[in-house]
Assembly symmetry: C2
DNA sequence: TTATACCCTGAAAACGGTTTCAAAAAAACG
DNA sequence: CGTTTTTTTGAAACCGTTTTCAGGGTATAA
């Protein structure tokens, strides 16, 4: 599966040129006479040359490695992003090193440190809670792409969808279906996504001349458990409502379960709409109406952008958007 | 966040010794006089020395990197394993490089090649379909741990749970609850796990003097969709059954959905038991009774074993076992 | 006291590339 | 055809470690 090491020197000898020339054709750094170039290429092919990554790195070249900072791997959304990154990187020359920031800025800073210590050529930061300031500073040191976060100063290096807009659409969908008393189970407050989704919800209500009822808004933490607790306290408070918009799908599952326990039917009695469209959402009962975030595509877009940055200095991030996927958890009211 | 590079030479000068001595204290390779040792340590601390990983690698040392071959990232089970690996590696000196084998042996071979090209110090292969033979051969080249697969010749380097036994227990649970006509939705045939689970199911039936009815066994592919299709064909075939054992949780979700669509109640009319206990399973309706695979722990065990192998040449894999988690999707019969 | 080990230590040689520098070759010019 | 300019090329230095090798000390033995 692997051979003894063929070095640049071996190539040089086989092709009857100097090491320097070989290096030049490999990197296309300096023009080389066509004849020699061919000879080198042939030799490389014949001996099955693979450059030693350490030597390259040492000599001030690239590490051919990119660092990925994820949070809380194990959450479906972030997993899909990771998968997108890995797949897009497979046919590049870069390999991904993963570290976990655990949604804690200190941890995040530390793991970024180890990445930097490994001389990664670039960074992809997925979510996280590191301050914008630090991220900006970091971006001056290394090429960086930020996924699932929207930074003022670095907006052209961010891959994200418009959470405000998406939440607005979701809420709007409920309103259009005749719902007026719409509860919202939020995500963790300090997550940017959560607050944006909350704002979208508020705005949709306002635009429809529905007054926001604070009692119908419950703070959760993106977990299934917080979904069941959210519904339980909603029910306890006694305000009537006919629909729930949750900040992610897992909370929607929890909400659905809590309702099930009380014998409340979905969607006949209460409608639910989630956010993310994780794979399971099509298979729960009833299949969940939700907002699809193109997680895989976001990962791919990020990876491609970074590779572009690294290779050419040019890159482009194709705009991605969330869209509503309508299944069976929302009923028309009246 | 990062400084100019402090080299071993700087340390040497500060501590008034030679580079060689510094290297020796770093690696503990040769005894060094206590006084000098202290001086070096102090200097390293003062200058905040971080060894250059490329130089180390080049000089024939370690790359301090371990390669992880996963399959089909995005499946909850494999994601959790990956998470376990990452977390266990965080407080080691190694960083993980991930590649995806896509459950195709050619792809797997290729990506292992790139890992080898990067001189990883060790390998963790999670699942996959590479032949046992190749894996064994690989294990002679590099330290390797295999997760979620059971290899004859390498059994002491494998982290896995007893799928046969676990499936036996699950089926047994159904039998004990009074079920006799028990259907099984299998996973992909060529996956070792799938066939072991199938065999466990068969054995439990046999031991209970229940004849295996081939019409109640349907081949699926681990996806939710195959779960719904499985139940649909089961229903079409017309043989009555009162319980279903699916090869994983996602198929259980699918099965449950198909039943829901037909107006068949779970668990009153038909019971379901899954396999994996992915996080969502506690929140579907009804909460799913299933076999819990300690995925996270498996990842951690693998990482720790590999680190042990690398560091000391010694390692130990603590035995992990699956266990039944009883929730609400199985009813007592009669 | 001198010879014999043994333990520490520094100098120097790898490791396999990239890059600088100056020389050689080729091309352009007068 | 000689001179100048430009393009190609090889030699050598360098990147930051580890490791080999041999020399210097010190302690032990004779």
């Amino acid at each position: 599966m692997e051979f003894k090491n063929v070095t640049i020197q071996d190539i040089a000898e086989t092709a009857n040129v100097s090491k320097s020339t070989v290096s030049r054709v490999i990197n296309n750094s300096t023009p080389v006479a066509e004849k020699k170039r061919k000879a080198v290429l042939a030799a490389m092919d014949k001996l099955n040359f693979q450059p030693n990554i350490f030597a390259r790195g040492l000599a001030g070249g690239q590490s051919m490695t990119i660092g990925i900072v994820t949070q809380n791997i194990g959450s479906p959304f972030y997993d899909s992003v990771a998968q997108g990154i890995i797949s897009a990187l497979r046919d590049s020359v870069y390999a991904p090193v993963f570290v976990d920031g655990e949604w804690k800025s200190e941890v995040e800073e530390e793991v970024i440190g180890t990445l930097l210590g490994r001389h990664v050529d670039g960074l992809i930061v997925v979510g996280g809670s590191l301050s914008e300031e630090k991220l900006v500073q970091l971006s001056k040191q290394k090429p960086i792409i930020v996924v699932a976060r929207q930074l003022e100063e670095l907006s052209d290096q961010c891959v994200f969808i418009d959470n405000f807009e998406a939440a607005y659409q979701a809420t709007r969908f409920l309103i259009d279906a005749g719902h007026e008393n719409i509860a919202h189970l939020t995500g963790i407050r300090r997550h940017q996504d959560a607050t944006r989704r909350f704002k979208g919800y508020c705005q949709a209500l306002t635009d429809a001349n529905i007054e926001l009822n604070p009692d119908l808004v419950i703070e959760g933490n993106f977990s299934g458990q917080s979904g069941v607790m959210g519904v339980e306290s909603l029910l306890m408070r006694g305000h009537s409502f006919t629909a729930i918009f949750t900040a992610n799908d897992e909370m929607a599952y929890g909400a659905r379960l809590a309702l099930y326990r009380k014998g409340i039917r979905v969607p006949e009695d209460i409608s639910i709409i989630g956010f993310d469209d994780q794979p399971n959402s099509a298979f729960i009962t009833p299949p969940l109406t939700t907002v699809r975030q193109p997680a895989l595509e976001m990962g791919q877009a990020a990876a491609k952008a970074l590779v572009g940055m690294l290779a050419e200095g040019e890159y482009e991030i194709s705009p991605l958007k969330a869209d509503l996927v309508i299944r069976e958890s929302v009923s028309r009211r009246r």
